[in-house]
Symmetry: D2
Subunit: 384 residues, 4 copies
């Protein structure tokens, strides 16, 4: 008991020692609070939500909070600046964003003039084209390692269905895609190659966009013509460094074996670098990691300037040490971002954050009375 | 060359072999598509966003997509059902949700009658109370392992500032919290303990809510009275199994050393189990993992029924094997969820998904013409 | 062409501008390398592995590398210091570590005198006891959200098998556990409670360890007596703040309803704090997050000292902002770690890193010629 | 009170209902255990570690446990089969594996004949070459988003130091690398291009390996000649689809602007596909995700066969839906893996798991008395 009391005394003391605790409230702060250079007054608010609020209003509420919500709010502000001001926007699109439903968000951004160059994967272009010519992806289900997942995927194999996480693609669409490439895309490139040697990858993606737009219109496909088509129609170049690493690349390779057609691996780097050169102000909007992220950032290694704005939406954790999850500040050490650049990374599922950030940024840009782009925006982004 | 052709032939063959490819489009599907029992027609749509859309409209768009977006859409639908129908809702709140700005989203849900029991941590109650009596958290910055982070946290230590990821808390608020507990909360419980023995943890959280509401009103604190106060005023019990594991718990322990006051670790399990018993339909809305998640789910181990609805917002990956990231289907094997239960897990930052899911679900429930709760909803959730 | 050349010139220039590139290697460093205060010479080596190397040798190789390997190497060094020197070691064990095969690693550490206090979950104690009295967990398979996972877990439910990620537990073991508690554990505590009021949680875990050891011996169970038994036999206290949050806690509650038995939620904090007080040097070894992590760290909030060593093995990402993934430097701002403390977090699956770190640390401690603990180590850790 | 008893009665009943609890142990299993088709007897053991155990012995212990430890054990067994049997091994190496210390593990595997084709990134080849010619990476520290990280990276920028997570690279090494390429690598390729048109990427990596080996020997560089050199000396082709996406690619592009040198994007796909064709048995060992993972797997889309063995070491979570974290079973639905293939994914930091899996597999293969490769193994992998 006395033992108890003794400890209690000690605890009191130590507690004091730890928390500058003082029972005399009045003069406590006077004597107990040390000078604070690191800490500055910037209270955390609390997000408040209500029925019927707009996405832009929700984004404002995120700004009151911490952790990822604060990052998301900053991502909206930086994206608003990229969209509203005269910024050359380089858009990196990795991952399975097209088969999983992000196709229209990107094609609308292109149509409405928010993107100046797209850096993406052959897979995204393959799946974008399949939908442009009438194919469809389907909602499916996922399995983990283990006997049953195996059986499930074996069955899908028997049924000729390819799985992308929780999305299915019937394989016959690849055959339709091959026919499309062999009839509407490769022949003209073959002639150009015969005349002038290997064509650039950007030349292929442009021709693909033209053909997708044409077939989408003539076949009256319900789904919109998509990303490559929108880029073609709006003179937005699409760069795809690892094109071989996709079904589109496999098709190009097979076609090249019986024709003079071939692709130049280096040619695109000149116009891409030129675009970075000519940019008064440059912004990078990167969805996911991989080659699209690195290629978007590395072009600044060979230009005097660097990115003034950068937003990254990723779910790869930075502690893996991989580039995909690397912070954008890391890119600053390489000179890929300006020291004064505004940048933020949002670590959350991009299928959730991409539509959220784009909707909120567009709300700010397009509904502000003095919005410069206000008029220029077509109705394409209004959901029919 | 012939070598080439030979390979090309082989490739063609194998390609056929892999993709049932056929140049004759017409009758392809007839002969090339195998019977498909696993695959069913359920096309992935593409999210479309536009300026000024509501959060509920955005949630609809997520439903078109795959991966996390599809899960988020399902979370909104299940939450709508929990909120609209006569469901007893058990709300698990883990993590650093209060200091990082989610306090008001939860207190509004309690005030508007959407929550029947709250299972949370002592930390959330500590930080909720600090703001109720006039303290504030502040936006700060984060550091990783390494020399500089260390120096940063050493400086914060010198300055008497505690860091919670990117949020700061000046330590004097803990002293104010201690005074609050010793003057307005513990004395009455001490008398009850003297008369009837150890009090329940729920009795402490209720008294804390009463005191927080009182001080918040008398001191005219700009921030709202918070979660514990809202629970007290709306007769919503707060269960906090690991209360010792918090500053609130440390204070209770220190007070108990010089008084007959003590807490009964088991008492709350009876009313919580009774609530689960009496529930016609039961729903679990779990934010984060840890004790709040497990305690919310395990109560069904000792009741004949189980949860009919369950939504989980977490960023812990399932492949760790830990309970925090475990899927809700796993809980079904334990009998914590009904076989027929509707459940989904959203793997993304909860500070982003919680306001998003709540705003979208409230939009559906409160703006539908025949909304039963429509009238009952106060204006508390309208942002001032 | 001239255009080309012009660009090439520009690129050269910018390239210079970016990388201080100079064709004259000799005097390059002289003029092109700026003063470097941040950067210091500390070359990354390259891990080299060979057949038959020991785990300790592998750990040395990790020290040459970066990212997680470097962290793991540091974890081994800090653990070695905790084990070799006269350090009071607080061991936090969260997660599903016992059902997933980490039980023996921990019980051997206790038997060999490396742990002074264990802070864990009721779940770990429940699964530890089930194996002590003859029950077994089994390898199983995992499923993700989706129709098939659901069916799988529904089937397991019908078959009376509980799933913990990829581990199965037949439910009859819970009934055996209940009988064990009601026959060998609760009665004596009931008598103590009748005489002296609520018992402490540590008193329950100690009695559980005694009973587990007894039954394990009398029933000649092939599996070893486990963690609670080893703690009992070596006078190592086990603290379990959230004991209600487990099947053990549910059993205690049900027993308490028809007996004077009850548990005091606060009692254990005094001896735990005393242990921290008396520690000349204190170390925290934390596996996973949750309550065991926070409770292990927070005890230093009410002691004059703090941890001198801290190792954390976790797979929760820090960017969630949750405590489970929080860096240990963050804990320094709270005064839970000494400013001069040695600490590291390893972000990887703990079922992989725990045996690895322990084996490497034990190799260093027990095989060094001047090892103080060398003799004291029993053969319990030699695999039979 | 009666209320209490009543509840207790109910609880008993429900408890029965949930856990087939029965106080009569004897005939319990007879009547309470339902038929179990899903569940099979496969007890989880418990890892036991001791001082001085080999990495192979540790791997055996992982096999007793669950979650990631069980996966790692399976990875060792599958890798053993790939190394011991006559399997054509395709090795995918992504991420920052070379700058972070995994260079020697891979170059030793090549020298000892365990790898038949390497698919990697331009970044890994760039960093491999920098060390081959005398440059070094250095241990550094990491920062997160926030003011201070920014300042840190700004300082590194001023100091001409590039950061890769917690690894630093002084920028002058890029200039040395450029000189190396322009003097020893590009000229010969320029002549070949002048004569025969664009060269393949594999031709460039082979020439790079030759030059690295030469300079490493003549300059007597302490670090070993590395991956590209080992591949050159052992006729192991290196495929690098996204070579443009690296400093090596930028250098190739700049050189190509003033010379006839250029690279063919498609040429490598023929020999790679041929290798897959000719493989009696094929295995994929994939470290990290991105292009190396997908390119390694997709080659099976145009061959009649598929992988018989596949091991993936990654830290990308599968729930992102991205390819990098995708399970290998998913690849089965595409026909990239044989239905009967043995495959496993280990979700943990690859800098920890790669040396661990390789050391354990080599121990099994090289120390087994009847090991076929036993003799063929050079001493190169013995740590000096």
């Amino acid at each position: 008991m006395s033992d108890e009391r003794e400890h209690d005394g000690e605890h009191e003391y130590d507690h004091e020692n730890k928390h500058e605790h003082d029972h005399d409230e009045e003069d406590e702060h006077a004597h107990s609070t040390p000078p604070r250079d690191t800490f500055s007054h910037d209270p955390v608010g609390h997000a408040t939500v209500h029925a019927g609020m707009t996405v832009g209003e929700l984004a404002e509420q995120y700004g009151r909070a911490g952790i990822g919500a604060a990052d998301l709010h900053e991502a909206v502000s930086i994206t608003e600046a990229m969209f509203a001001e005269d910024v050359t926007v380089f858009f990196g699109l990795a991952g399975a964003m097209v088969p999983t439903g992000m196709r229209r968000v990107v094609s609308d951004l292109i149509r409405d003039g928010y993107i100046d160059a797209l850096i993406t994967t052959g897979a995204n272009l393959t799946h974008d084209s399949i939908e442009a010519i009438g194919g469809k992806h389907h909602h499916g289900c996922v399995h983990q390692e283990g006997k049953t997942e195996r059986e499930h995927d074996e069955t899908l194999r028997d049924e000729g269905v390819d799985r992308i996480y929780n999305v299915y693609l019937p394989q016959e669409h690849f055959a339709e895609f091959e026919s499309h490439l062999r009839s509407a895309v490769f022949p003209v490139l073959e002639r150009e190659a015969e005349a002038d040697g290997p064509v650039s990858i950007e030349r292929l993606t442009r021709e693909l966009g033209r053909a997708n737009a044409e077939v989408n219109a003539t076949d009256d496909v319900p789904e919109d013509a998509g990303i490559a088509a929108a880029a073609y129609e709006n003179d937005v170049p699409i760069y795809c460094p690892a094109i071989q690493d996709s079904v589109l690349g496999l098709q190009a390779w097979m076609y090249s074996q019986t024709s003079p057609f071939s692709l130049d691996a280096l040619a695109d780097m000149t116009p891409l670098t030129d675009l970075a050169f000519e940019a008064e102000t440059a912004g990078a909007f990167v969805v996911g990691g991989g080659v699209p992220k690195n290629f978007t950032l590395q072009t600044m290694l060979v230009t005097p300037g660097a990115y003034d704005y950068a937003v990254q939406l990723t779910m790869d954790p930075p502690q893996t040490g991989g580039l995909s999850g690397a912070t954008l500040d890391e890119a600053r050490s390489w000179g890929k971002l300006e020291k004064a650049a505004k940048n933020v990374s949002v670590y959350a599922d991009a299928t959730i954050t991409l539509p959220l950030v784009v909707a909120a940024a567009r709300e700010r840009v397009e509904t502000s009375p003095d919005s410069s782009v206000n008029q220029s925006v077509s109705d394409s982004s209004v959901d029919q």
